[in-house]
Symmetry: C2
């Protein structure tokens, strides 16, 4: 319908006859003329209606038009007067003098302004998502997502990966999160499950000889939705066979660097690799943002003889530590503000928070410092590089728990202090422990997933110290977020069964849930490993957003509702009866 887009006209187009389509954005009447900013997805062009120039009823039609009406205009590109040139706008040197207009539709007054940076409640934006998406900043985010998705597909396709679609209606194998279940009408009483990931299917594809697989896969988890989770999300799913871990990680770095480069982001390779325990030790996180310091400092040896029993107790207990971080600048905070940090620390599992504020005047403010010896204080200051204005915070207790508390505080303080991070931060965290202890279920659970290959030289630790067992795993960390995760897989049926049994599966239950996988592993499964990239999260980070909802066209609320369509909703009794179900 149009010959040009609203974003592309420049001074060199002056004199050209054009047809444009788009929405009336703003309309101004001035000096007997009507000015209309016409918006399409590429940008905006000022269209001018002059009663002397407009043909037939065009000027009259222009008088009736309202914001958000879709229109078509035909006219001539002319130069703007010098004083009305808008240097901020790509099309700011020109306008279109309209001779003809066609109204393509009409619009009620939208419930919010179609503008960037609006303060409208998110629920309203979700209710009228189709209007929200008209806002240029939202349109740009959708486009960025499309571009990055295409970039990573291209990077994979060009490296001889085969895209394979795996089924969405699959078997319920509840572990980790809850499955969404789908009743079968043809087999009453039976259910499909929507996949939490294509993990099992991609391993079967490796058994099937695909060798290099990828898929941009919709995944489903019926979890209680935390602030930034969605019941359905998308991952770029990758798997390779006849490979070792370095093969996979090298291929992934190559693919990711290519994809990021295509959207203008440089990811230098080879990526840094940080061992899981080192990451916990230094950053208190298995997904550290390394663009700023505030490292965790180990002071265990310093406080072995301390009069402060909380510290000396920890320092003298096997597996416990005393550690600290130094939040530079927060030492000037008023006492009341510092006191609130205890609550924050509690949210990361602490029972309280020990701290020392080093005031600018050289004094100290702290509930605990009175217990410290001069030597302890001197060593603390030295190791933590203390200067006036610093706030040192402590954690004392079991190593991992202490690291997690300080890791949480490190992130919190970086936000609170407004530490600016330039560019993006990419790294691998590798060699996660194979298991963690689930205190609710009273059993060992897989840290990554039950199909992860252990460090095979540590298999004897299974009997003696399973928590010390490492795994062939690698998480891709971007800007302090877990942006992807991967690992090598068990490709031996016996080892797989042994691992499942160790995690509390009876042989019967293991076979019921994963029998088809274990059977497949008896038919010559090759060594294999892979990866899944959290597409929503990566796009969120690329877009500079703080919620994955911003990079999804139609996200759901934290109760799983689509406010626009009203889903989920009641279904008819007939629909339920067809699948042999009734409501409880």
């Amino acid at each position: 319908m149009h010959t040009r887009t609203a974003g592309e006209l420049r001074a060199e187009n002056i004199g050209e006859e054009v047809t444009l389509t788009g929405w009336v954005w703003r309309r101004r009447d001035h000096g007997g003329l009507i000015f209309c900013d016409l918006r399409d997805r590429t940008g905006m062009t000022q269209c001018t209606f002059d009663p002397e120039h407009a043909q037939g009823s065009a000027f009259h039609t222009a008088e009736t038009m309202r914001p958000e009406w879709p229109i078509l205009v035909h006219g001539t590109v002319i130069a703007r007067d010098a004083e009305t040139v808008n240097p901020k706008l790509p099309t700011g040197e020109i306008e279109v003098l309209v001779d003809h207009i066609e109204v393509l539709g009409r619009s009620k007054t939208p419930p919010f302004q179609i503008e960037d940076g609006i303060e409208t409640a998110e629920d309203t934006r979700l209710r009228y998502r189709y209007l929200d998406l008209r806002r240029p900043e939202m349109a740009e985010k959708l486009k960025l997502r499309s571009d990055f998705t295409f970039a990573i597909r291209s990077a994979l396709h060009n490296r001889a990966f085969t895209e394979v679609e795996t089924p969405a209606l699959f078997k319920s194998t509840p572990e980790g999160a809850r499955d969404f279940i789908v009743p079968s009408r043809l087999q009453p009483g039976s259910f499909y499950a929507l996949p939490q990931s294509p993990q099992l299917l991609k391993q079967l594809l490796m058994v099937g000889g695909v060798e290099r697989y990828y898929q941009v896969a919709k995944c489903f988890r019926d979890e209680d939705l935390r602030a930034d989770r969605q019941p359905e999300f998308t991952q770029v799913d990758i798997e390779m066979s006849f490979v070792d871990q370095d093969d996979v990680m090298g291929a992934l770095e190559d693919v990711l660097a290519d994809a990021f480069a295509q959207v203008g982001v440089e990811m230098p390779t080879p990526l840094r690799r940080i061992n899981y325990w080192d990451a916990m030790d230094t950053y208190g996180s298995d997904k550290p943002d390394t663009r700023f310091g505030m490292h965790l400092v180990d002071l265990t040896d310093v406080f072995k003889g301390s009069k402060f029993k909380v510290f000396s107790g920890a320092a003298n207990t096997e597996g416990h530590v005393v550690k600290a971080i130094n939040a530079k600048g927060a030492g000037t905070w008023p006492r009341a503000q510092i006191d609130k940090l205890a609550k924050v620390a509690e949210s990361f599992g602490a029972k309280g928070l020990a701290w020392i504020a080093f005031r600018e005047d050289g004094s100290m403010n702290s509930p605990i410092v009175k217990f410290f010896s001069d030597e302890e204080m001197a060593e603390l200051k030295s190791r933590c590089d203390v200067e006036p204005g610093d706030l040192v915070m402590f954690a004392a207790g079991p190593r991992l728990a202490s690291d997690e508390i300080l890791g949480g505080m490190r992130s919190h303080m970086a936000d609170a202090l407004g530490i600016e991070c330039e560019g993006h931060d990419f790294l691998w965290v590798v060699d996660f422990p194979l298991f963690h202890w689930d205190d609710d279920a009273k059993r060992y659970e897989a840290e990554h997933q039950p199909f992860t290959l252990p460090h095979v030289d540590q298999l004897d630790l299974l009997e003696t110290n399973p928590l010390a067992m490492g795994s062939c795993t690698y998480d891709f960390v971007m800007d302090g977020f877990e942006a992807g995760g991967g690992g090598m897989r068990i490709h031996d049926a016996e080892l797989q069964l042994k691992m499942l049994e160790f995690m509390g599966f009876t042989e019967e239950r293991a076979k019921e849930q994963f029998g088809f996988l274990m059977e497949a592993l008896t038919f010559g499964a090759p060594p294999m490993g892979g990866f899944a990239l959290g597409l929503d999260r990566v796009c969120m980070l690329l877009a500079g957003s703080d919620s994955i909802r911003d990079v999804m066209a139609f996200p759901k609320t934290s109760s799983g509702s689509d406010l626009m369509s009203g889903a989920p909703s009641a279904v008819s009794l007939g629909q339920l009866k067809e699948v042999s179900l009734r409501l409880m």
Copy 2:
């Protein structure tokens, strides 16, 4: 792990040291040597173990290896003896003299041969799909699908289409097929539905200003599965706004031609467009294969005065016809074989089948020819271009029903006669009727879908002759299959409501199901239209397969079962209770 693939070695690689990985395909022991055909996804290389050459225990290891074991070999590329060169094999000039072998896994004896062209029952192949996919012909089909999918994505991306992911958990709007429903745990008693297509969502994206959208979208229909339907299937979903029908069809031709060209298939543009009624008239099908003739011939006027009452009755009834097709070659069939055609015709809605076999000796065999006058026979022979050996079949009755019977017979006879079709056949069938009459529901139903734009100059026919109303629609027909379908959409809320009401929706039900769409249309919806390409079917045709199951990695049976994983399966009472359901 490997330095080369098993498909790439040629004479010029002779002397090279290589590491290969793959599966043991065939193993032969001959003259004190062991020969192993090593297969990976790129091809096959013969690996030779010579006890004089193999290092350490390599020869001994080779003695243990069995078919389908994954192995790694290291060795030197050498020339085959002149008499063992295999010109049929790309790697047939060379072999690899192995010095080292590593067994990467072991395999039980597979339940069927990993070979092309096996006769194994499909259920067995589906049960062990991971073994079935190792067969080169299946691997090639998966690769073709991946390549074509990437090709069409590229074609769209390069034309400034934006890929947008729409939700899989959406609102149940049952119409057309049944929805799969998904109970919500967070909102007990409420259900999501898996989308039958992203139709409503893509229209909302147009209201949202996306302008050019695409998605390779998983779609779900809970139908009784006919031979070649699947509960989930994939369509390339496309929508454009600020366009007229020629804009959309032109853009689609351009995209499709580009995508087909990337997989080596020429689709000449502009595509032929056949009006729906012309297609029915000439081919008795709205998805004709035009690579062969056997056109429907209208003989209504010929039999107006016929003594054969079945024909003259139809010929003198308004809206009824007498038509015929000429199946050349079938006139030599024995009577018993011809008689069986009546059953076939019945499957297309006929009550019986009138026919004339013109024997090679000039005689005629027919139950009805005795009623024909000489003039009728002469005119019949002339219009149907009758020669000895032809079989002419008739249909007499309502126009559309008669066309459909003969269209069905035309396809059947083309198969039965083994008519060879060269290359692919692409065309548009356009201007479908807006409605058909549903005799079960006793109401008009949308021929395409309820959101299709009618021919706006025919809106007055709604009152007088709705079945004569045309619609702005276009089906993409490939090799006699409906490979895609599209249309312009209603972008006016009032017209949309009017159409839904005409199709028997109360205003209340229309608003309950489609209120969010109609509300969106009140906020300045632009003119829009789009398309959906049936990816499974197109890939099936490109692969030369006769079932879409061949181009899906993990298809389901006609009862909706995944024979490999056992889905669908029972779920625990706990899982049901969490979603407040019980079995009936």
